[in-house]
């Protein structure tokens, strides 16, 4: 009646009715059915989970163009990119000099100013404090600029310098520089 257990894996499930309870073939059949069903459930689950990822319309809007033509030295503008503020500052020569001088300072997150600004007069930063996501102050002349003349986050007191680097306070990283390219001398595309 019962076939040798070794033949079970090679015969198709559903055949071999002669087996009684508890034989290896039965186990293989149940396991494959259960594994198959579970795989289907997981793959279906992926479709559900993936639906929460950014959708095609969100991804299509993930770049934004900014004109810098109207900006004067010492002025800043804030633009929205992917729902977050981006700081663009036309830095004064003094600010640039200060930032470059501080390249050699004791930095928590060492980066040279040159690496952070493609053209030294225009600094482009993601205006989100790297501590817990507040928007630092310092865009308006009347704002506090912190101890290093750049930006100051009021939530937990992080001080950023004129290159947007973290100098004091709880934030672990420099203000992020988003990916951007110059389309011409006075227009950049962020993202």
């Amino acid at each position: 009646m019962a076939q040798p257990a070794t033949s079970t894996l090679t015969t198709s499930p559903g055949g071999g009715r002669q087996h009684e309870d508890g034989t290896p073939r039965r186990d293989f059949l149940y396991l494959s059915a259960a594994a198959f069903g579970a795989t289907g459930a997981v793959l279906t689950g992926w479709a559900f989970v993936h639906s929460m990822n950014p959708s095609a319309d969100v991804l299509a809007l993930s770049s934004t163009e900014v004109s810098l033509a109207a900006l004067q030295p010492g002025q800043s503008i804030t633009v929205t990119w992917r729902g977050k503020p981006v700081f663009v500052r036309y830095r004064t020569p003094e600010e640039i000099a200060k930032a470059k001088a501080d390249d050699k300072a004791d930095l928590r997150d060492p980066e040279t100013d040159q690496a952070r600004a493609k053209k030294e007069q225009f600094l482009v930063l993601l205006g989100v404090c790297t501590h817990l996501g507040c928007v630092p102050l310092g865009q308006k002349p009347t704002d506090p600029h912190g101890e290093f003349g750049g930006w100051f986050c009021p939530c937990h007191g992080s001080h950023y310098d004129t290159s947007g680097r973290i100098r004091k306070g709880p934030a672990p990283k420099n203000l992020e520089v988003p990916a951007y390219t110059y389309l011409n001398d006075t227009t950049i595309r962020i993202g």
Partner: protein, 412 residues
């Protein structure tokens, strides 16, 4: 129900299971109510539809939650937000079609489940409350489906909502105030859409609660079976697992093939083309029909020339199901042993399907007359045929037990 000796599954002796169960006997409940649960050994494939309905409820709730993450219940944004789901959200079209066609599948399954209960007399003592709970689930499903259909804010959404809410205006004195209250304004508009969305999200969880009660009531006396006789002893029963878990799983898989066919290859066929047109309160589509699962009731509504009468009769068509356990006077449960009942049962099925067809036609000429005839037959089934059958019908002899149906040649 025969006394059944509970022998715990091996996993019940696991120390962690024991630790948990000492504090919250959840494993014991699962073991007793799902794994070792004694079920009649002779349940046929018509008994699959209960668990299928449960699966559909889960599918609808899950797909619905993920759709709700992208849906906007505002008249200015609703239609476009649904189109955005279809076009831009990752697998959004899949979620939408699962949900849209899932409603139809849910109703197919539940209608078969109800018909099975009617054929095999599953509503009879001691299962009347089980039957009532099922009907409450059905009512909640209808409300949920109706409000869900409004959400895409297409032409049929809008005009379906207008027509159905206006049913309440048939009530004397308070009718108009009730309709204004339902709308939250003087027409179906933003407040209506907003509250329908809130309730459409809420009601499925009410249904889930009712399903729990339904199962609780079921497990008191156990499932009815195709013979309609009570189990006489342990030889009539088998543990739910693995026998019915595997049978339900197989049935589910077959069902999923049908479901997947509609979702992937024919997703529009069960819906109305007009609902892909954004709602326009100034233009009524030439032919308003509800979704197919409401058509029999819609036909009953239109069969009566009087507004209030039609509304009452339509609600009566469901209300009468609540007293079915007492209208059926026969002491034999299963239709298998009731030759005359069987004929009337199938007449009733045909009548209901014919009503559904009439509901989809313009209410004039043959469909109207046919609808009226079938409405009379529908109610006559419950009020005349079933009570009389119990007196006049001579049932066939019942088998001695579930395990020995061979003793009497089973009718088929």
């Amino acid at each position: 129900m025969a006394k059944y000796d509970y022998v715990p599954s091996p996993f019940m002796s696991n120390p962690i299971v024991k630790w948990v169960d000492h504090r919250l006997p959840i494993f014991e409940m699962v073991d007793q109510q799902l794994i070792k649960y004694p079920a009649p050994r002779n349940l046929n494939y018509w008994w699959n539809f209960g668990s299928l309905a449960g699966v559909m409820l889960v599918v609808m709730i899950l797909s619905g939650i993920f759709l709700a993450m992208n849906y906007q219940p505002n008249t200015l944004a609703a239609f476009d937000s649904v189109e955005r789901i279809m076009r831009d959200v990752n697998y959004g079209w899949l979620l939408r079609y699962m949900h849209m066609n899932g409603a139809s599948m849910f109703f197919v399954v539940v209608y078969i489940h109800i018909a099975r209960g009617m054929y095999y007399g599953s509503y009879k003592a001691p299962r009347e409350i089980l039957w009532w709970l099922g009907l409450l689930i059905f009512l909640a499903m209808m409300a949920t489906a109706f409000m869900g259909y409004v959400l895409p804010w297409g032409q049929m959404s809008f005009w379906g909502a207008t027509v159905i809410t206006n049913l309440f205006s048939a009530l004397p004195l308070v009718g108009k105030s009730i309709v204004t209250w339902l709308w939250g304004g003087f027409s179906v508009d933003n407040p209506t859409l907003n509250r329908f969305f809130a309730l459409h999200y809420l009601l499925p969880f009410v249904i889930a609660g009712l399903v729990m009660l339904h199962l609780w009531a079921l497990h008191v006396h156990g499932s009815n079976n195709p013979l309609g006789i009570d189990a006489k002893g342990p030889q009539d029963k088998i543990p739910f697992h693995p026998y019915y878990t595997v049978k339900d799983a197989f049935g589910l898989s077959v069902f999923l093939i049908v479901y997947a066919y509609f979702v992937f290859f024919n997703p529009y066929v069960l819906g109305d083309a007009d609902n892909w047109i954004p709602a326009n309160p100034m233009v009524t589509p030439p032919h308003i029909v509800p979704e197919w699962y409401f058509l029999p009731f819609y036909a009953i509504l239109r069969a009566v020339p009087d507004k209030l009468g039609g509304v009452l009769l339509m609600f009566g068509a469901i209300a009468i199901l609540f007293v079915l356990p007492w209208l059926d006077t026969s002491r034999v449960r299963s239709g298998r042993f009731r030759p005359a009942f069987r004929v009337f049962f199938w007449v009733f099925i045909v009548v209901t399907i014919t009503l559904g067809w009439c509901g989809a036609q313009l209410p004039e000429g043959i469909p109207l007359i046919l609808g009226q005839v079938c409405t009379v037959l529908y109610f006559a089934h419950f009020l005349v045929f079933l009570p009389l059958l119990g007196w006049f019908e001579r049932p066939r002899p019942l088998p001695a037990s579930i395990a020995e149906p061979v003793l009497t040649p089973a009718a088929k």
